[in-house]
């Protein structure tokens, strides 16, 4: 108990937090602008006729054209976070607005969006504005130290992300077939130099095994003093490589930024020296002191719970029998990245059991191409869409609609097979955490975690 108390009282210089805050805020601001620039606010959040909801968050609605306002709020709050202006309020607003956006439609689910939601929640309870923030000037108060556990909490979370991503790669598809990397790398044939290399089988295996080892080991190498610089170079090399190869947006840059949290305060001081020489920032009025939160106890509690949940939650897939990559029960929110190449073709029949009305649904009448692509191989989305269709046709004269689905999916280069039982009226099935018995099992076995 004393050990814990001692640990919680340990102090550390706050530079790493300041650097992370500035980097995070700017990356998020850039990310919002990029979203706007690519027209995604329109195509992902405004254009669609229906949105796919996360279980339990059906109440989160698209705000129509006010979604732009939501993005502006999110962008401005990330700028404020970067500046360290009214930090607690700004990061809170960022967390709420960003998470709200993500909850509007699960079609766009990405692990790194979830990562951002979790860290921004974590940041609400941490003094990222302790130094080098506008708040210091406004409050005439800056901090020479922060509790060490504040930084360790972030490190632990980054550790979980990498390590779990590595664990998920220990499976027969990834290690023994080099799938799906072999397919993806082969298709990058037009890259200079690497394109030819990517046609070679040993390169696929090298990347698969290398990726697995990287994810498992990099957090350790980042923690250990002697290997940190080397590990960080590897982080840059690895993520820049993935940025070139795959359309994964901001993820590589976010991970590179978060790897800097492992550096010690001394290593940051050089950077901030340059900062301090800016005349405008020199103020004599600032009072330096140690940071002590009035809410230390509750902060420790909340963050402990958060991290504890993060450690356990990715393992929930073990509670489901059947092939995880195929059924995707407990697949999201578990740092399973780049593991599956799935392509589906899914069509719906709506039949009225009280009349001779029947219809084969043209998906593009209701969904965007992006939604069709994602829905076609994800069981929960297929079910949600089936219910949407049932409601839709009930309002249009179908007295007792039944919805059946013809769905075929291919996984990691396997032959496609029927995905959903076509004799099941999906309107009789409800979304829940229970096993979905209407998924036809994969005719193969993927061994691994």
């Amino acid at each position: 108990m004393n050990n814990i108390k001692n640990y919680l009282n340990q102090k550390i210089r706050p530079e790493p937090l300041a650097f992370l805050r500035i980097g995070f805020g700017l990356l998020m601001l850039f990310s919002m602008i990029r979203f706007y620039y690519n027209g995604w606010i329109e195509s992902i959040y405004i254009e669609p006729f229906m949105h796919f909801k996360y279980y339990g968050f059906e109440w989160v609605k698209s705000l129509g054209h006010y979604n732009y306002l939501l993005f502006i709020i999110c962008g401005v709050s990330s700028l404020f976070v970067a500046l360290g202006y009214k930090y607690r309020f700004s990061i809170f607003v960022f967390f709420i607005s960003f998470t709200y956006i993500e909850l509007i439609d699960k079609t766009t689910y990405l692990n790194h969006y979830y990562f951002i939601s979790v860290v921004s929640f974590l940041f609400i309870f941490l003094p990222l504005n302790a130094k080098y923030s506008l708040d210091n000037y406004l409050n005439k108060k800056a901090f020479l130290s922060v509790p060490k556990w504040n930084i360790d909490a972030i490190k632990l979370f980054v550790f979980i992300v990498y390590f779990y991503a590595g664990l998920a790669k220990i499976n027969s598809d990834w290690l023994l077939q080099a799938a799906p990397l072999s397919l993806w790398l082969t298709s990058n044939y037009d890259l200079p130099i690497l394109g030819d290399l990517f046609q070679k089988s040993w390169v696929h295996y090298f990347f698969s095994w290398g990726g697995m080892l990287y994810d498992l080991l990099i957090p350790f190498f980042l923690i250990i003093n002697r290997t940190r610089i080397f590990a960080f170079l590897l982080v840059i090399l690895f993520h820049v490589m993935t940025a070139i190869l795959f359309p994964i947006g901001m993820f590589p840059y976010i991970m590179i930024l978060f790897a800097t949290i492992f550096f010690s305060s001394n290593q940051f001081q050089k950077i901030f020296k340059a900062f301090e020489s800016i005349k405008f920032l020199k103020t004599k009025d600032i009072w330096y002191q140690d940071y002590n939160s009035k809410f230390q106890k509750i902060n420790v509690l909340i963050i402990s719970i958060l991290l504890f949940v993060q450690i356990l939650f990715p393992f929930r897939s073990l509670m489901y029998s059947g092939e995880l990559f195929w059924n995707e029960e407990g697949y999201r929110f578990s740092w399973r990245v780049m593991l599956i190449e799935k392509m589906g073709y899914t069509t719906f029949r709506v039949i009225d059991s009280q009349s001779d009305k029947r219809i084969l649904v043209e998906n593009s009448n209701f969904l965007t191409d992006f939604q069709i692509k994602q829905m076609s191989f994800q069981p929960d989305m297929i079910l949600e869409y089936a219910h949407f269709l049932g409601d839709y046709y009930k309002k249009r004269g179908f007295i007792e609609p039944k919805v059946f689905v013809d769905s075929y999916v291919t996984l990691n280069g396997r032959e496609s097979q029927r995905f959903i039982d076509n004799n099941v009226n999906l309107l009789e099935e409800k979304e829940s955490f229970k096993k979905k018995n209407w998924i036809i099992p994969l005719k193969d076995e993927i061994k691994g975690i």
Binding site: L183, T186, F230
Partner: protein, 371 residues
């Protein structure tokens, strides 16, 4: 620490080895030659098909000239025959809705059915119409419109001739002339496009949404699913809602809907297998590309390229057993018609899941991050 730097040096060393390799010409043996694939598809299939179609249109026009100057039964029969020849030839062109063709709505201006007869009659009567830019006229031109002009305006050939001979007959002749001329001028633009763009097209071998192979593959699948499966079978057969016999292809001619569908499927098969339109020899194709990737990456899906051909062949067998006239087929034995649809549908599944996944073709319509 030293060991780790050694490891780093090895990693960098390995990647630079690759760099050295790529400078040697032998490396191309290791990868699939997409340039050769595009050259084969373009030079041996796309361009010759369009040239052939253009020739058929010239013949059609010639026959029309004869007919318009001498409105006889024989000349009408020849005109009808030339129309059918050109229509068959079109089945080999429709799927290449790419570049200029897409931009100028070439497919929509050539083969939208059912044709809009009220609109046609309006155009005939007013004699002022814009076939080029007015999208309301898409369904009042092309083969389906000529189908109506040659078979639909009266119930038999004698009466059709009588109609062309009547006081207002010249209006019909003029409209028919406009329809044929429009198709010729459209097709000239397409030929011109391929003449100027061919070199750029075959050298665009990257794997991006806008590169040639991706667009061609996406258009091919789109055609198989919509132009072939849905338009020719699914929609008239009532797969999507209720039965519409008037939505069969060549509705007024009646007994060639099966023939056109079979030709369309032959065109699909030939494209997939890379069979030359000129002499039927096989070259690089989606099929050989699939085989290459499957064996290179040791995929379990080893029969994929053959399975796709099996689906096509099975569909062809089913089609061959249908009535020449799909209207009669639908009225007589709808179930058999729908089974044929199901057989064709199995091909869609293979193309849209297995093939796209194996080839990792960037799907042209989806633009978002992944992880």
């Amino acid at each position: 620490m030293k060991k780790i730097y050694l490891f780093l040096i090895i990693v960098i060393g390995l990647s630079s080895c690759g760099g050295g390799d790529s400078n040697q010409p032998s490396i191309t043996n290791d990868g699939y030659d997409r340039g050769a694939l595009l050259v084969n598809l373009t030079d041996n299939i796309i361009i010759p098909s369009i040239n052939q179609f253009s020739n058929e249109l010239s013949d059609l026009n010639q026959s029309f000239q004869t007919f318009s100057s001498d409105l006889t039964q024989n000349n009408l029969m020849d005109l009808r025959k030339k129309w059918l020849d050109a229509y068959i030839s079109w089945q080999y062109v429709e799927m290449f809705n790419i570049g200029k063709a897409e931009e100028m709505y070439y497919f929509q201006k050539t083969n939208i059915y059912p044709t809009n007869t009220a609109r046609i009659e309006l155009n005939v009567e007013s004699a002022t119409f814009d076939l080029e830019n007015n999208s309301n006229n898409f369904s009042a031109q092309g083969f389906p419109a000529i189908d109506y002009m040659l078979y639909g305006i009266e119930s038999d050939s004698n009466m059709v001739i009588t109609k062309y001979q009547s006081v207002d007959g010249y209006k019909y002749t003029n409209y028919l002339s406009s329809l044929i001329n429009q198709m010729i001028s459209n097709t000239d633009q397409i030929i011109n496009y391929w003449q100027t763009e061919r070199d750029d097209f075959v050298s665009s071998t990257a794997n991006t949404a806008t590169s040639s192979l991706n667009k061609l593959t996406n258009d091919f699948i789109y055609y198989y699913e919509k132009g072939f499966r849905a338009n020719k079978i699914g929609i008239p057969g009532g797969v999507f809602s209720s039965v519409y016999t008037d939505k069969v292809e060549a509705y007024y001619r009646k007994n060639i809907s099966k023939k056109l569908a079979i030709e369309a499927l032959k065109a699909v098969k030939a494209f997939y297998n890379g069979e030359s339109f000129v002499d039927g020899t096989s070259g690089e194709s989606l099929k050989t590309y699939i085989d290459f990737i499957v064996s290179k990456n040791n995929l379990s899906n080893i029969y994929l390229s053959q399975q796709i051909n099996d689906k096509f062949n099975n569909s062809e067998q089913m089609l061959l057993q249908l009535n020449d006239n799909f209207v009669e087929q639908i009225n007589g034995n709808l179930l058999q018609f729908l089974y044929t649809y199901d057989a064709i549908q199995e091909g869609v599944v293979k193309l849209k899941t297995d093939m796209l996944s194996v080839l990792s073709i960037a799907v042209d319509y989806v633009d978002a991050d992944g992880d």
